[in-house]
Structures are given as C-alpha cells and as structure tokens.
C-alpha cells in the first residue's frame, strides 16, 4: 500500500492553511484530525512520537510539529512553506479581531461569548489528549506504566501546579530511562 503524503509544496501550504484557519483556541486538535484522521500522513502512534519532540523543544508546539512534518518531505522549503501556511490567513483574521475587540471588547455579551468559546476550546484539548492516549497501546512501556506516568504528569501540572520544566525533566526523564532499558533488553 502506498503511504499517503503531501503531494507538493502547494498541498503542504494549503493543508496547513486550512487547519490553521479552523483552529480557534489552538490548532493542535485540528492538526490531529487533519494529519492523522483525514489525510493519514501520520499514524496516531507516529503523531505522538513527533509530538514528544515538538512539545519538548522550545517554541510553539503546534508550529514545531508543522516544521517537522514539512521538512520531512521537502527539507528547508517544506519547513518554510509549513510556517507560512500556519500564519498566512490567521495574521489577517487576528488583525480584524483586534479591531473588533477595540470596539466591542468591553461589551459583556462579547466577554461571555469568549468564555463560552474558551470552555469549548478546553474540551477540544482534553478530547485530543484522550484520543492520543489510545496510541500508547503499542508503547514498549506497557499500558499500565504509561497511564501512571501520564496521570502523575497531569496531576503535577494541573492540580499541584508544579513547574512544567521539572515535570518534563523528572517524569520525562524517568519515562526515557525506563524505555531505554526496555528497548535495550529487547535486542
């Protein structure tokens, strides 16, 4: 079976433009749906693997991911085209929204509408995360250990408000070490 992949730089640009312009409140939920569920450029497990790198490196995680995907197929040109795609339309819409906000931002209806959208956006993040959890089925650490690591990270950041860097170094480091030992043992 031939693996689906972006056909051209144009395809790459419009794919990212399309998902960026839909991405109210953050683009990651739309990236998962477009790249994994619709275009199938990545499997869900591959998406999680790329996301691990994109999220650990400095920079906006979704943008990092788009650069990783773009450069994989078309090198530097792919990376530039992906970034351009992510910002092309949103730059215009954000300018329009800033103008609208200057005029209507104090209106309580607008504030309540934004809070309603924020609540939906939060649900999009959580749902995407839950869907990605299913990709851990094939993780060499095994499902129970993965879930323990995930739960501790979630509790640390969301409930106990630990600093992100410590969670990444501590629990991330632990996950890395355990996986390393496991993979070494399989050889």
């Amino acid at each position: 079976m031939i693996r689906p992949q972006p056909q051209s730089l144009k395809d790459l640009f419009f794919s990212f433009t399309l998902l960026a312009i839909q991405g109210f409140g953050g683009v990651l939920a739309y990236m998962e749906r477009e790249l994994v569920e619709r275009k199938k450029w990545l499997t869900r497990a591959e998406f999680v693997e790329e996301w691990a790198v994109a999220r650990t490196m400095p920079g906006p995680p979704a943008l990092n991911l788009s650069i990783m995907v773009g450069s994989r197929y078309f090198g530097l040109r792919g990376a530039i085209v992906s970034v351009a795609g992510m910002f092309f339309l949103p730059s215009f819409t954000i300018a329009l929204m800033a103008l609208a906000y200057a005029r209507f931002g104090a209106d309580p209806h607008v504030i309540d509408a934004l809070r309603g959208m924020g609540a939906v956006a939060a649900g999009l993040f959580i749902a995407t995360g839950l869907k990605l959890l299913t990709a851990l089925k094939t993780n060499p650490l095994g499902v129970p250990l993965c879930l323990v690591l995930a739960f501790l990270s979630f509790a640390g950041v969301a409930l106990l408000h630990w600093r992100l860097v410590y969670v990444m170094l501590g629990l991330g480091g632990l996950g890395y070490l355990l996986t390393f030992i496991k993979l070494k043992g399989q050889r």
């Binding site: 312009i21 839909q22 991405g23 953050g26 939920a29 569920e37 999680v48 691990a52 790198v53 994109a54 999220r55 650990t56 400095p58 920079g59 906006p60 995680p61 450069s71 994989r72 990376a79 970034v83 910002f87 949103p90 819409t93 954000i94 929204m97 800033a98 906000y101 931002g105 209806h109 309540d112 509408a113 934004l114 309603g116 959208m117 924020g118 609540a119 939906v120 956006a121 649900g123 999009l124 993040f125 959580i126 749902a127 995407t128 995360g129 959890l133 851990l136 993780n139 690591l149 995930a150 501790l152 990270s153 979630f154 969301a158 992100l164 990444m168 629990l171 991330g172 390393f180 070494k184």
Partner: protein, 197 residues
C-alpha cells in the same frame, strides 16, 4: 484611535526588544504561553512600553482567534509600535517581535527534526520519542484542564464546566466539525445561559 500610552523608541530600544524576544524564544519550552509572566514583567513593568490592559487584551484575542496562539506576540508588538508612533511603526514592531519569538526556536526545531529523522533507529532517539509520550499527552490534557478551570468558581461557573465536559465527549466520540461546537459555545455564552446569577 489614540494610544493609551506615549512611548519613545530609539534604534537601540528596537534592538533590545528583538534581542529579548530571541531569549524568550529559546527558553519557551512547552510553548510561548508559559513565558507570559516573564514577558509581562519585561514589557509592562520594566520597560513600560505598553499597558497591562493592552497586554491582557493581546492574550485574550490571540486565544480566541484562529491560528497558533503565539500570534499574541504580534499583537504585543503592534501595541508597542502603536504607542511609539502609529500604524506603520505598529506593523514594523509586530513583525520584529514575531521574528524574534520564532526565528531561534524554528531554526532549532528544524535542525533537531533533521537529526532525529536521520537517527530514528538509534535506541536513544526511539526511547525519547516513546518515553516522553505519556508525559506530553498528559500535558495537553492538563492545559485543557487549566483553560477550563482557570478564573472560574464552582458555584457560578459550573455551566462552563458542563460545556467543556460535553465538548470532550462529543469530540472524542464523533467526527463532528469542531467549528460548530465553538460557535455553539459562543452563542450559549452570549445568550447569558452559562452564568448562574
């Protein structure tokens, strides 16, 4: 349109602004939003290049707008430039801040991506991508959780939590276009149904 603050920017100031965003860029592990306190401290408290109201509005607008949330940096730049001169200075400053925020991190991830792909069979690389998986997924769920619960009180805002929970179930279970959900959320909010009085 008049600016709420009058600022004088010399070439040295623009340069310093760019240099500071370079530093923010390489330290933005987990995304630029993590650095909001530091950026606020530098731009509003220390340099006084824009007001707290302008800062907060930039973040709110960028989170409501489609596209990467890092666009709040463009709005911050826009406000600084607008305070310092006007429309043209605003455009210049918006581009300057975005270049500062993105050029270092994008270069870094480009180099890293290449290296990671080339060495994808190494155990060290595979262990990283697989071992970090549970943690980075949890962080995504955590950011949704914090977005849902930040600035809310149970007695007054429980309808917002219901919206988040309903969205989570619908998106996880169906293939519905997420735009309609956002529109519904906005409509419910504007109609006042989400606030218990």
């Amino acid at each position: 349109m008049t600016s709420p603050l009058s600022v004088v920017m010399q070439w040295a100031d623009w340069f310093e602004l760019l240099a500071h965003f370079f530093v923010f860029s390489v330290s933005s592990i987990g995304g630029p939003l993590v650095l909001l306190p530091e950026i606020h401290h530098y731009l509003v408290t220390q340099q006084q290049w824009l007001t707290t109201a302008q800062f907060s509005a930039s973040v709110v607008i960028a989170q409501a707008a489609p596209g990467p949330n890092v666009l709040f940096v463009a709005l911050l730049g826009w406000n600084i430039g607008f305070n310092a001169g006007g429309l043209l200075t605003g455009f210049f400053s918006a581009v300057l801040c975005m270049v500062g925020m993105l050029l270092p991190s994008c270069t870094l991830i480009f180099i890293t991506a290449k290296w990671v792909y080339k060495n994808r069979e190494l155990i060290a690389v595979r262990a990283f991508k697989l071992g970090m998986g549970p943690i980075v997924i949890a962080l995504l769920i955590a950011s949704g959780w914090m977005l849902a619960t930040g600035n809310t009180e149970a007695a007054r805002d429980w309808p917002l939590w219901v919206v988040t929970a309903a969205t989570t179930v619908i998106v996880a279970r169906t293939k519905i276009n997420m735009f309609w959900l956002l529109l519904t959320g906005a409509a419910l909010g504007a109609s006042g149904l989400l606030v218990v009085s």
